[in-house]
């Protein structure tokens, strides 16, 4: 029933021109410079970028969590409701039941002094589910994230579980309240690669089965491409490109997306890495032009003068002055 309800809506998450800045003695310092991003019901979107690009700030803004003293403009709608207008009890219920957040380090997010069972049933108990029913559901949720001996795990403490198992507990706890949207902020970056495979497979299955939307934040483009429907690439507080994940390597048009792919070493053949010169810049350092202009091999005069806006070209949205010609300039053969 809830799945059917969700399918009726167009967008589960809709962020329009979100700007966040912090007060500094020399004036406001922008950290998000106008983020526009939407996720349809049941869709999985990967948000990819280097550190400081604003990925986590964007995800936290969906929960209406802002840094202290931040100035915010733009809109954030979840299931048609304006998140920025929420406060008090309505905000608490929204955070508790409408969206679920999965963090990079489950160990620092789960109370080490309470049992796994208490952690998972907390949200359900808050919704008024009787203790016995909540426990039964918690056990079946733990089984659905491939934990053996779930009844026994319920009585264990977080310190007794490995990072990979604890991240599954985190996923189970988020599924418990059946949110329409899951925000996963680098959920596997601290895990071993074989554990990562298991955890992203579990997370992907869980979202698909329940028709939940997923915002998956990562710095790994290939990982994002493998488990999401669309990819959004961020840098310096802006979304530079959005495109279908399956077409990442063949249809990308932004030079930054191409540069990110080229700067990763290949697993099977050694070639000299085409490293991006310089370091990623922050939103407040980006000036008036394109945020990638100073590091871009294709930059022309206009790139450092005016900022390109995100516009639709073919299957993608691209914020690049030369987006139309990039198809002929990027060496797609080197990307695969």
């Amino acid at each position: 029933m809830r799945v059917a309800e969700r399918a009726m809506r167009v967008a589960e998450l809709d962020i329009q021109d979100l700007k966040i800045s912090l007060p500094r003695v020399d004036g406001p310092r922008p950290i998000l410079a106008g983020v526009t991003l939407s996720i349809a019901a049941g869709e999985a979107v990967g948000l990819v970028g280097e550190s400081g690009s604003g990925k986590s700030t964007t995800a936290r803004a969906v929960m209406r969590l802002f840094p202290p003293k931040a100035t915010v403009s733009g809109t954030v709608d979840v299931a048609g409701r304006s998140v920025l207008a929420l406060s008090g009890q309505a905000l608490r219920e929204f955070r508790g039941h409408e969206v679920g957040m999965i963090y990079q380090d489950p160990r620092s997010r789960i109370n080490p002094l309470r049992r796994i069972g208490d952690f998972i049933t907390e949200g359900m108990r808050d919704q008024g589910v009787p203790r016995g029913d909540a426990s039964q559901r918690a056990i079946s949720l733990l089984e659905s994230v491939s934990l053996t001996n779930a009844a026994h795990r319920m009585n264990q403490y977080p310190g007794e579980l490995s990072g990979g198992l604890l991240q599954r507990v985190m996923i189970a706890s988020v599924l418990a309240t059946e949110p329409g949207l899951i925000l996963a902020d680098e959920p596997t970056s601290a895990l071993d690669v074989t554990t990562q495979e298991e955890v992203v497979a579990i997370l992907g299955d869980a979202c698909r089965e329940r028709g939940m939307s997923l915002l998956f934040i990562t710095h790994d483009l290939d990982l994002a491409a493998a488990i999401t429907d669309r990819i959004a690439v961020m840098s310096a507080g802006l979304v530079l490109e959005v495109l279908p994940s399956a077409l990442l390597h063949s249809e990308l048009r932004h030079p930054y997306t191409a540069a990110l792919l080229l700067s990763r070493p290949s697993l099977h053949a050694r070639r000299r890495i085409e490293a991006i010169p310089g370091a990623p810049i922050a939103a407040y350092e980006s000036g008036t032009g394109c945020v990638f202009a100073s590091r871009c091999p294709f930059a022309i005069d206009v790139c450092s003068e005016s900022r390109p806006v995100l516009r639709k070209i073919g299957v993608s949205q691209v914020a690049c002055h030369r987006a139309e010609e990039m198809g002929g300039l990027i060496d797609y053969g080197a990307l695969a």
Binding site: T194, S263, P265, S266, L267, R270, R272, I273, I276
Partner: protein
């Protein structure tokens, strides 16, 4: 100090007979930790289990494995921060599997092998400027005049792609990539014959990681230095190592030429490790319950 362009490409070529001798020789090394479990019974944990390998002079060995596989314990034993329970380790002709008893012996070790850690922010002294931190190593290792140390400091900075303006800066104003370059310069200051890099590029952003990997490849062909490169990231290891060993639960499960192991793995665990790396067209699979 700097070799000319004719030395380029040495990394790919076959080692000449003069370089065949080993810079590191690890022979049947095990490291067992004694623990007391919850019931206060004495138990033991074998972190490294009967590991043997050697690295030829000028070579680069990658050690890959997941957390708990024993790779960092092995690294710490090679630099002499820990000692094997059984077995022997010889670095540049000197045994390092016991304590360095004298100041001179410790100094000699420092000049032979140096380590670069994952997090440069915690391995550099936050109160020391870049210049002072390099100068300290030079004073420790060599008898040089202050003028000669200054010249050497500039040379080191240039080698790692930094410049004079960084001399007076402290780590907190440097980016992560710049900090790691300083850590590499500091490790190279006393011209060690071996560099042990423990997840040295893992904390860096993708674009900066590429720069540091290129830098490490260049340094090896320019300077007379060998690498033991430890990482969980197979693609990064492939970029920097001629040979690799794959570790699992303290044991070596597979070894060989890097491209051989990564393209035609024999061991089941190595296969699983490679299959779990996201690449073009990769899809995650659930392997079962845990």
């Amino acid at each position: 100090m700097r070799a000319g362009p004719e030395a380029d490409g040495r990394a790919e070529s076959v080692p000449s007979p003069a370089k065949v001798d080993a810079i590191v020789d690890v022979n049947s090394v095990s490291r067992v930790y004694r623990l007391r479990d919850a019931g206060r019974r004495n138990t033991s944990f074998t972190a490294v289990d009967d590991v043997s390998f050697s690295v030829s002079r000028g070579g680069s060995l990658g050690i890959v494995g997941e957390s708990g596989s024993g790779k960092t314990t092995l690294a710490r034993m090679i630099v002499g921060l820990e000692h094997p329970t059984t077995g022997s380790i010889v670095v540049d002709g000197v045994r390092v599997d016991g304590r360095a008893r004298t100041r001179a012996a410790r100094r000699a070790r420092g000049r032979t092998v140096q380590m670069v850690y994952q997090d440069p922010y915690s391995s550099l002294d936050p109160r020391q400027t870049v210049g002072d931190s390099l100068d300290e190593v030079l004073r420790f290792c060599f008898k040089l005049s202050s003028g000669a140390r200054r010249a050497r400091t500039s040379e080191l900075l240039e080698q790692v792609g930094l410049s004079q303006i960084h001399l007076a800066l402290r780590p907190n104003v440097l980016s992560g990539g710049q900090q790691q370059r300083v850590a590499i310069a500091r490790a190279l200051a006393c011209t060690p014959s071996l560099l042990v890099l423990d997840e040295a590029v893992s904390a860096l952003d993708v674009s900066v990681q590429g720069q540091v990997l290129n830098l490490l490849a260049d340094m090896r062909s320019e300077l007379d230095v060998s690498y033991v490169f430890i990482s969980h990231d197979l693609a990064v290891v492939q970029q920097i190592s001629d040979e690799i060993i794959v570790m699992h639960n303290g044991k070596v499960v597979e070894r060989g030429r890097t491209e051989q192991v990564l393209n035609k793995p024999n061991d089941e665990y190595t296969k699983r490790l490679i299959a779990a790396v996201p690449t073009v067209g990769w899809k995650p699979h659930r392997h079962g319950v845990a």
